[in-house]
Amino acid sequence: MNYTKQIQDIAAKLFAEGKIDVFVGYRMNGFDDNQVPVLITDPQDVSKLVFTDKSVFNLVNYLKSDHTRRKRVGLVVKGCDSRSLNLMLTESQVKRQNLYIIGIACEGVVDDAGQKMQNCTECVVPDAVVFDELLGGTLSGSLTLTGSKPYQVNADVTALAAMPLTERAAYFEEVFENCIRCNACRHSCPLCYCAKCCIDQETATLYNGANTTSSAFHALMTWSLHLAGRCVDCRNCEKACPSHLPLHLLHKQNESVIYENFQEHLAGVIPEDRGAFYKYSLKDPDDFIM
């Protein structure tokens, strides 16, 4: 997967036509084969742009930045990224007319070790779902509402769910104990755009200010519930976590519950679909309630 040339050309054309003020893409970091996101405002820098299977970071995150707000932005989105963009559009965070979206039919990206990322091996929506231009044709053929493959519960979630309660409790105690409450997860998530966040320390007194295990538990639980039905599994949070916590477990758990019980679409696949907590069905399960 290499769309470097195409993206450079498109970006150059957009600048030449005066259609964008800033282009958000990837560039090489300059010393190894890893890439960093770059915000280009000078058309001459277009040649820095690259796109390969090392283009991991979800660039939609930059749409909440001061550098892009209220500007005309060109950006590159993979399948998962585009779903988060869809939600950003639905939740009125960005205006569609200000964006020029280069969609990618994504074949999956790799981690530092060169291994295909887990979410990519499980990915059911590889194609960008919102774009002005789609590079790479379509991989999923005709896109069904839930993606191109039948939904499967994440293997890690299944494995944990099968563990005895005490072991699972011990496992997660370790997870929350290793959280250092830096909130990189929240900041790296494109959908965490709130001015006041439930897990920022600003709300410390009322919620949980200290960096204790107990607070980390509270913060991550609340955070994952705020992303329930909205998380697009781009794993920006997990990549950002300095303690390498398996944050996807919480999100995938919520996703599987929502998918299996409410028959909702995967987050962000459908335009104007707001996520499972903002609607209801009379047929929702009731048997867990006395």
Partner: protein, 657 residues
């Protein structure tokens, strides 16, 4: 620092017998913020309330906790005591130590006392976070909208207008009167329907406080209680009502004949028509679907014969707006179409008619001049079979509920038949006779004796033709045998159903409806007139099947509600509503989606202080907000606060024990 006063009630022996009240007081006194705590026999009594008032002044208290019975019982009482002492009434919290402790843990005084202490701690902690709240006052537009001009709408409009409140009455057909105008005589007194209805119709037309808008539909309702704005579509009538004198020359000369809806299609009307002779307003309209002038541009006779020149073929639908404060919905009912009863030969045998068709035939101004006839050959029937519960109480083909009025009108029909055709005989197939109502049972009994009608308890299984007669086969459950009756005419007592437009109307008004399409009342017993949306009321069969007296009662009740609502220039409203902080709102608008009352709208605010750039945020209309808190719980940025149940208040409660 908060200064909380705690007042623990003995409630005579109700609390004191099972909770160690002095111990509770001692425990409460240990709490840092409690500056005063005392127990008393009856806190709700005058001396008890006096203690609260005195302590507020003496100890400079900043919030009050009363530990007594349920807040649902005496919250208002104690709030008033706070008010009387010059304190904001919403600084009160009630710890429910009677319903939630002493009465339910009568066997374990120690546990009940401990629980009472915890409940007091929670109330104290919550009260510290209480804020001063003030009743919301919302201005009121004193004009009511009545949708539907049947007897329910007429009655509601007249009652409201008589209280000198302007009313806008919207009726979708060319004349008001509704179903009642189609009836001949009414049970149980057999007075003539037209005779009692038409004076009221005339009153509506002439009432100075009623603006009658016939041949119109409601398009849109915006706003909230006291402050609605309604858009009404006046359908093109092609007749200028201002110049038309109602002489009738036009419809007499009109060459186009159309089945007459008023007479259930038994006879014909013209393409320009007044629905019935006593119509109000008594002005014709042109039926655009059939008028050849409007369809093909040929004819134009009516315009030629109209001396005042009231005909205007170029007339278009007109949309008008009215500002109103309350709505009464009285859209009435429809009759169920018995087509699914194929085994009866409905549709195949002409001599099977519905009850409303029978009603028109026996009506003095009906198509047959008051004499029932067989549609097949025009002969007067001798043996008539009435079948009840057609569609109603029938889950398989129709609906589950009982239509309520069919037993009574069928009884009436047997009488009317007996009056018009003296040598006739009625057979009535019935499941039950439901005659609950003033004079109803007597009416049924008397009718059975007077008419000599044969009542057969059981369902009809089949109707087939034998010569020119209809053979009705059914079971007589009382003798346990199959019976067959030879009939000249069969009358089906079809069910009452909700108007098919009701769901659309409900969505337009923002109210709910049930699975049958009837509009839902706020509470089935205690608020049968209100809807869940403040300022919208229900009258008549649009809510559920009803007879005329019930309909009129409900219409008058609606009027009373509307008058109550309009009794002041502003409405007072509970201040426990949500507010949104512009600073923290990220504008995702999920709350707009979740709010069941449409109380949240979007607003534009500057991006920063003094900035000219705008961004979208959500805004709550406190006049509409009912304070459920749905929006608060789904707001991820915690930008929404529900007064009285704020996050700090609830968290304080949680961490206080």
């Amino acid at each position: 620092m908060a200064r909380v006063g705690v007042f623990v009630c003995f409630c005579g022996a109700n609390i004191a017998d099972y909770v160690d009240v002095p111990q509770v007081v001692e425990e409460v006194k240990r709490i840092r913020d409690v500056k005063y705590a005392i127990e008393y026999k009856y806190m709700c009594s005058d001396p008890g309330q006096g203690m609260i008032r005195d302590a507020i002044v003496q100890y400079k208290l900043t919030s009050i906790v009363v530990a007594a019975c349920s807040p649902r019982m005496h919250e208002k009482t104690f709030r008033k005591a706070l008010s009387d002492a010059g304190m904001n009434p919403y600084l009160l919290e009630v710890a429910n130590i009677r319903e939630h402790s002493s009465w339910v843990h009568q066997k374990d005084k120690k546990a009940a006392t401990e629980k009472a202490m915890d409940l007091c701690r929670m109330a104290v902690a919550k009260s510290i976070a209480n804020e001063q709240l003030h009743e919301i006052s919302v201005p009121v537009t004193k004009r009511a909208l009545v949708i539907g001009g049947g007897i329910a709408g007429i009655q509601a409009a007249l009652d409201i207008a008589d209280a000198r409140i302007p009313v806008v009455l919207v009726e979708k057909s060319p004349s008001i009167g509704g179903k009642m105008a189609q009836l001949d005589e009414t049970f149980p007194t057999l007075d003539c329907s037209q005779c009692i209805l038409t004076p009221k119709m005339v009153d509506v037309a002439s009432h100075p406080y009623i603006e009658l808008i016939p041949y119109a539909e409601v398009l849109e309702l915006q706003g909230f209680v006291g402050n609605y704005k309604v858009k009404i579509k006046k359908k093109a009538s092609y007749v200028n009502f201002k110049t038309c004198t109602g002489c009738g020359a036009c419809w007499q000369k009109c060459p186009v004949k159309v089945p007459n809806e008023y007479n259930m299609g038994i006879d014909k009307r013209k393409a320009i028509y007044t629905p019935f002779p006593q119509a109000v307003p008594n002005k014709p309209v042109i039926d655009a679907e059939h008028c050849t002038m409007l369809l093909k541009g040929k004819c134009g006779i009516c315009a030629k014969v109209c001396l005042p020149g009231a005909i205007d073929y170029k007339m278009e639908d007109e949309i008008i707006e009215r500002e109103i404060g309350a709505v009464v919905v009285a859209t009435g009912y429809d009759m169920w179409d018995p087509k699914p009863y194929e085994e009866y030969g409905v549709g195949r045998f002409k001599d099977i008619i519905t009850s409303l068709e029978f009603e028109r035939m026996v009506s003095a101004n009906g198509p047959t001049n008051g004499v029932p006839v067989r549609p097949s050959d025009g002969k007067v029937p001798k043996n008539v079979v009435f079948i009840k519960c057609i569609g109603s109480r029938d889950e398989a083909k129709g609906i589950e509920y009982c239509s309520k009025i069919c037993c009574m009108y069928t009884t009436k029909h047997t009488i009317l038949l007996h009056h018009k055709v003296h040598d006739s005989h009625s057979y009535v197939f019935y499941m039950d006779i439901r005659a609950a109502g003033k004079g109803y049972e007597e009416f049924v009994k008397k009718a059975q004796v007077d008419t000599g009608a044969t009542y057969l308890r059981g369902r009809v299984s089949k109707i087939y033709k034998k010569g020119d007669k209809l053979m009705v086969r059914g079971e007589d459950a009382q003798i346990g045998q199959v019976v067959e009756v030879e009939a000249d005419l069969v009358v089906l007592a079809t069910a009452v159903i909700a108007p098919k437009d009701n769901p659309d109307l409900a969505r337009l008004l923002g109210i709910s409806y049930d699975k049958y399409g009837y509009l839902s009342e706020a509470h089935p017993k205690l608020r049968p007139v209100e809807t869940a949306k403040a300022g919208i009321f229900l009258a008549g069969c649009t809510q559920a099947p009803k007879d005329i007296p019930d309909t009129v009662s409900q219409a008058s009740a609606c009027a009373a509600k509307v008058c109550g609502l309009f009794s002041g220039d502003t409405m007072k409203k509970d201040p426990m509503v949500s507010t949104i902080s512009n600073e923290y709102c990220s504008g995702c608008q999920n709350c707009v989606k979740v709010c069941p009352y449409g109380a949240i709208v979007t607003d534009e605010v500057p991006v920063g202080h003094g900035s000219k750039e705008l961004r979208t945020v959500a805004k709550i209309n406190e006049g509409v907000c009912q304070g459920c808190g749905s929006c608060v719980a789904i707001c991820r940025s915690m930008a929404i606060t529900l007064a009285g149940f704020t996050d700090p208040q609830i968290i304080n409660e949680i961490v206080s024990i």
